[in-house]
């Protein structure tokens, strides 16, 4: 990937960098940042999130505020999902697309409690590209943009004990009343803290946004309370098991939301950039589709490995794959020709010199545990 092209000294550090180093984390470049991959082991951290609670430094993510009389109309113009009529305190997932339907990024839109105020949370690797895209398309709309990414830190606290931890360590009893994909505003050191019941692991959990200084303090409090620090290694194994896409692997300028099976986050009763191309794909022009594949072996299908029919015809490629920690199965996402995407279709993965038989399965490999 392009990570290796960025000179080490130009990599950014999050506000928690020193803490990661002090904890002895294995650090690696990711999305232009020097990030922790693991502290103990991917398996230990993965299981902590599934069984108890773990925390991730996700301060590298991008936060863009949009406000103004036409903020809603503007966001709906660039966003595949429909934010009309969704209430303050709610969070909506969706994509921004190019006119050809290719994906600019996937993101969260927060409707703030202040009228005409929104927060967009975007992928770290795409902050500059997204902000340029947003600026360009905001022309003609009465709204103001603020890329607050450098000023805002973020911790994702994830796992069945996340709510208890928030209440015990930070005292925010409000946490108990938040449903999944809603948020509330609280204060920490007299400054705003966004407590959002969202995440990227398939478990219940929270994402906390506040100033960098506050984030450093809160991280230390969680550490003292015994919360397992978790790196990007298990962030990927967790999101993968839960069937969640990663931009760059399952979404890209070449992979549209329809190809990725994310059509439920595209609303066609309104206009947005890329709508016609996505409608055409839905109507039949779609050539490839993202599927889940399970193979009958412990060998691991990795990104880039070919997908073949039992007769040996190459019909696709693996985008992400693991030997699933929670399920003890070798599974992957793969982009395959549409005619091979039906559930139970026999497909094989070529792993080095061997071919391993398998079949198409549901992409949500792991039963998620979200708070209703």
């Amino acid at each position: 990937m392009s990570e290796n092209l960025i000179p080490l000294e130009q990599l950014q550090k999050t506000c928690l960098y020193d803490s990661h180093v002090a904890l002895g984390a294995k650090m690696s470049p990711f999305a232009g940042f020097m990030m922790p991959i693991q502290y103990d082991s991917i398996t230990i951290e993965h299981n902590a999130v599934r069984q108890h609670v773990g925390m991730f430094d996700v301060s590298h993510m991008g936060e863009i505020f949009v406000k103004g009389p036409e903020a809603e109309a503007f966001i709906n113009h660039i966003f595949t999902n429909d934010i009309r009529g969704f209430e303050p305190g709610k969070v909506l997932y969706g994509m921004m697309c190019y006119p050809d339907g290719g994906t600019v990024d996937d993101l969260l839109v927060y409707r703030e409690y202040l009228a005409n105020h929104f927060l967009l949370v975007v992928n770290a690797a795409n902050i500059d590209k997204d902000f340029a895209w947003i600026q360009e398309h905001a022309k003609g709309f009465d709204c103001k943009l603020d890329n607050a990414s450098p000023r805002i830190g973020q911790i994702a606290l994830q796992g069945p004990e996340a709510e208890k931890t928030i209440i015990e360590v930070l005292g925010y009893k409000e946490a108990a009343d938040l449903a999944f994909y809603t948020f509330c505003d609280v204060e920490y050191n007299g400054e705003r803290l966004i407590l959002s019941r969202t995440g990227y692991t398939g478990e219940d959990g929270f994402e906390i946004y506040t100033t960098n200084e506050n984030i450093v303090e809160i991280w230390d409090k969680f550490l003292k309370a015994g919360v397992q620090p978790c790196g990007l290694g298990c962030r990927d194994t967790l999101r993968f098991e839960a069937g969640l896409p990663l931009y760059g692997d399952e979404l890209s300028p070449e992979i549209t939301p329809v190809m990725a099976g994310l059509g439920m986050f595209c609303k066609y009763e309104k206009d947005f950039i890329g709508k016609q191309a996505l409608l055409d794909q839905k109507a039949g022009s779609l050539e490839k589709k993202l599927v889940g594949i399970e193979i009958e072996d412990k060998a691991i299908p990795r990104a880039g490995y070919p997908v073949e029919t039992p007769e040996g015809e190459e019909v696709g490629v693996v985008t992400t794959g693991y030997h699933s920690i929670s399920l003890d199965k070798s599974i992957c996402f793969a982009l395959v020709k549409k005619e091979y995407s039906a559930l139970d279709t026999p497909l094989c993965i070529r792993i080095r010199k061997k071919v391993f038989p398998g079949k198409v399965v549901k992409k949500r490999f792991y039963q998620t545990n979200y708070k209703k």
Binding site: I37, I42, K298, A299, H323, R352
Partner: protein
């Protein structure tokens, strides 16, 4: 610090070789298993397969990455360590006990190109 045994030969790609008569036991070093992290799968050749010095004969898989196994010697695989099929973690637990293949060497002189413990220790910088 990684464990290095004096009586073994080492390759640049972090395999070790233990020689008994014309048979070479091949595994990966303690340094290699630490770099890999938790090993979840060992991809091994079949008994009877020919291997060539410097060529891939299998792979180790951890959660995050796969790493090719490169044969330090040429010859025929006479035995694979089938214990690793169900217990790949043995490579983490005891890298020098968990041999992966036994090779009947066709060119034992290739052993001279491998490193001794001191040279390997120097190479990994420990």
């Amino acid at each position: 610090m990684s464990k290095i045994l004096d009586n073994l030969k080492y390759s640049e790609s972090h395999e070790w070789v233990k020689v008994e008569d014309n048979i070479a036991f091949v595994g990966v070093t303690d340094f290699a298993q630490k770099e890999m992290g938790d090993i979840t799968y060992v991809d091994m050749p079949e008994e009877g397969d020919d291997v060539l010095a410097g060529e891939e004969f299998g792979a180790l898989e951890s959660v995050k990455a796969s790493s090719e196994l490169i044969s330090p010697v040429s010859g025929t695989v006479v035995l694979v360590n089938s214990e690793l099929e169900d217990a790949p973690e043995k490579v983490n637990e005891d890298a020098y006990g968990a041999w992966i293949i036994k090779v009947e060497m066709s060119m034992p002189s290739e052993l001279d190109k491998l490193m001794d413990a001191a040279a390997y220790k120097k190479m990994i910088g420990e």
